[in-house]
């Protein structure tokens, strides 16, 4: 059996989105900045996609800027707000310990450039108490950046509450909604955010394209300088095929949102029920609301990569920590932020299902994970020590 259960890393493009992209590449290939008819027809495609994306998140078309993906959107939003703040003497930024590296590494760069960054702690489910944001805001706070849904654990953070606090305190608020858009209802007015990042390939759209919502009146500066595309705020010949593909995929996802949420949550819960029978394991984030498809579990005394590779040998594609950092030797910064000790953080598995998965697949995953975990424990010196009572179990 071949099972793709790594949808939080990337999704397979939808048939419709692919068809629209192909059509677009063939029929509307001209440069939308060109004045001639083929160019203007391409521009119409671009602007229609902008309207669709705007509508999908409750924004106005003028508030949507297309980018090359979630990372670029995050970088541009954060840098724009930070430096706008700096020009007014504000050099403090608030974020969380569980953000994606697109946010965290941008913060690190800003910290080098003189910003003071407060990393708010989360609880054991990866949830952030909005009151912590209120308490952390100061006169010099230039930006609050809190993700909507965590990519490793799936936890939904209370962005509406945080948005309200930021509005009250008049501090710009950015949310990385890359894992949320297309998976849970997202409305920028409800959130009350100034910036919101999304990425096409997380909801069965194409790779290499994303959008940044910028509230009318919020400051936005170029990350990429050049031509006057995107109202002068993002240079580069517009990637219209990808943009219309993204809009198509998002419309599709939203048309089936409730249905898909129910279906993937049910699949995830079924999987969770099966896997939580494995002794000395812990479901991460299960105490909080999560995006429907994501499941993160730690198994004591085994290491994630070997687990992952043995599952892969059985045809199961899953992830340990976030895809971008796999290959690194450090355990996930998110799991550490949830308070898990290093030794068990190493033993994590993320399964992220989509509406295309089946219960039969869930049964197979449960069976194989059980088998692989018990095999790896049988060759683990840590498990040996635990069994012999030389060490204490972390997960009782």
């Amino acid at each position: 059996m071949k099972i793709y259960a790594d949808n939080a890393a990337t999704t397979k493009i939808s048939e419709n989105a692919l068809a629209v992209m192909i059509e677009n590449m063939k029929l509307y290939f001209a440069n939308p900045s060109s004045l001639h008819t083929p160019g203007q027809l391409a521009k119409e495609q671009l602007e229609q996609a902008r309207e669709e994306i705007a509508q999908a998140i409750g924004a106005k078309p003028r508030e949507i800027f297309f980018t090359s993906g979630g990372s670029e959107s995050d970088n541009q939003a954060i840098c724009s707000a930070a430096y706008a703040g700096k020009r007014k003497g504000k050099n403090h930024i608030i974020t969380t310990t569980v953000e994606h590296h697109a946010v965290l590494h941008t913060m690190a760069k800003l910290a080098k450039d003189g910003f003071e960054v407060t990393y708010l702690p989360v609880d054991e489910d990866g949830w952030l108490d909005p009151q912590l944001v209120r308490e952390a805001i100061r006169e010099e706070t230039a930006l609050v950046s809190v993700m909507y849904a965590n990519n490793e654990v799936g936890t939904l953070l209370p962005v509406k509450e945080i948005g309200a606090i930021c509005k009250e305190k008049k501090v710009p608020f950015h949310t990385d909604a890359v894992q949320a858009v297309g998976h849970v209802p997202v409305d920028v007015r409800e959130i009350g955010c100034d910036y919101l990042a999304l990425s096409g390939h997380k909801f069965h759209g194409p790779r290499g394209v994303g959008a940044l919502y910028v509230r009318m009146g919020a400051r936005i500066d170029n990350l990429i300088e050049g031509g006057a595309q995107e109202r002068g705020k993002r240079a580069g010949t517009e990637n219209i095929p990808a943009i219309v593909g993204m809009a198509t995929a998002l419309k599709e996802a939203l048309n089936q949102l409730e249905e898909n949420m129910e279906k993937t949550a049910a699949l995830r819960d079924y999987l969770e029920a099966g896997l939580s029978k494995i002794s000395h394991s812990k479901i991460n984030g299960s105490g909080a609301e999560r995006v429907p498809g994501t499941l993160n579990i730690c198994f004591e005394a085994i290491e994630g990569e070997s687990l992952l590779l043995l599952l892969d040998a059985k045809g199961i594609a899953a992830s340990s920590g976030s895809a971008c950092t796999s290959g690194s030797l450090d355990p996930s910064h998110v799991l550490l932020a949830l308070g898990l000790p290093h030794e068990v953080a190493h033993g994590s598995l993320r399964l992220s299902v989509s509406e295309e998965n089946t219960y039969e697949q869930m049964d197979y995953i449960i069976e194989q994970v059980k088998e692989v975990v018990s095999y790896l424990r049988s060759i683990s010196p840590v498990w040996e020590s635990l069994k012999k009572g030389e060490k204490e179990y972390i997960f009782k």
Binding site: A301, I302, E303, G304, E305, S306, L309, L310, A313, G327, S328, L329, P331, H342, E343, H346, S378, I379, S380, P381, V382, W383, E384
Partner: protein
């Protein structure tokens, strides 16, 4: 692919897995915080490694390195086992990704720790 076929073979079908109850030397290196622990058990008779078993907590290349290292010293005189280098393990595995080379170092260290233990008990 991430790993060579040799690594995958030794990872998926590790040789010499297990414990030896009355081992003559036991070596354990690494720690769970770093994500790798290797434990090697030796049965030695007349300075010949008669049997060797291991247990490893770690990634695919850690398990494969342990497996390969135990294969390389099994049946060999202790003097030869002392010469085992991480480079030899890597070569025998047809290479490891650069950021996984430390696994072979760990395997070398685990063998040496077990031999140290053997000498200290003697």
């Amino acid at each position: 692919m991430l790993y060579s076929e040799k690594v995958m073979d030794h990872f998926e079908h590790p040789r010499n897995v297990g414990e030896i109850e009355d081992a003559d030397g036991i070596g354990e290196v690494g720690n769970a915080t770093c994500g790798d622990i290797m434990k090697i058990y030796l049965k030695i008779d007349q300075d010949i490694i008669k049997d060797v078993k291991f247990k490893t907590f770690g990634c695919g290349s850690a398990i494969a390195s342990s497996s390969m290292a135990t294969e390389m010293i099994k049946g060999k005189p202790v003097s030869e086992a002392l010469e085992l280098s991480n480079k030899a393990v890597v070569e025998a595995l047809d290479g490891l990704p650069p950021h996984k080379l430390h696994c072979s170092v760990l395997a070398e260290e685990a063998v040496k720790a077990a031999l140290d233990d053997y000498y200290s008990k003697k």
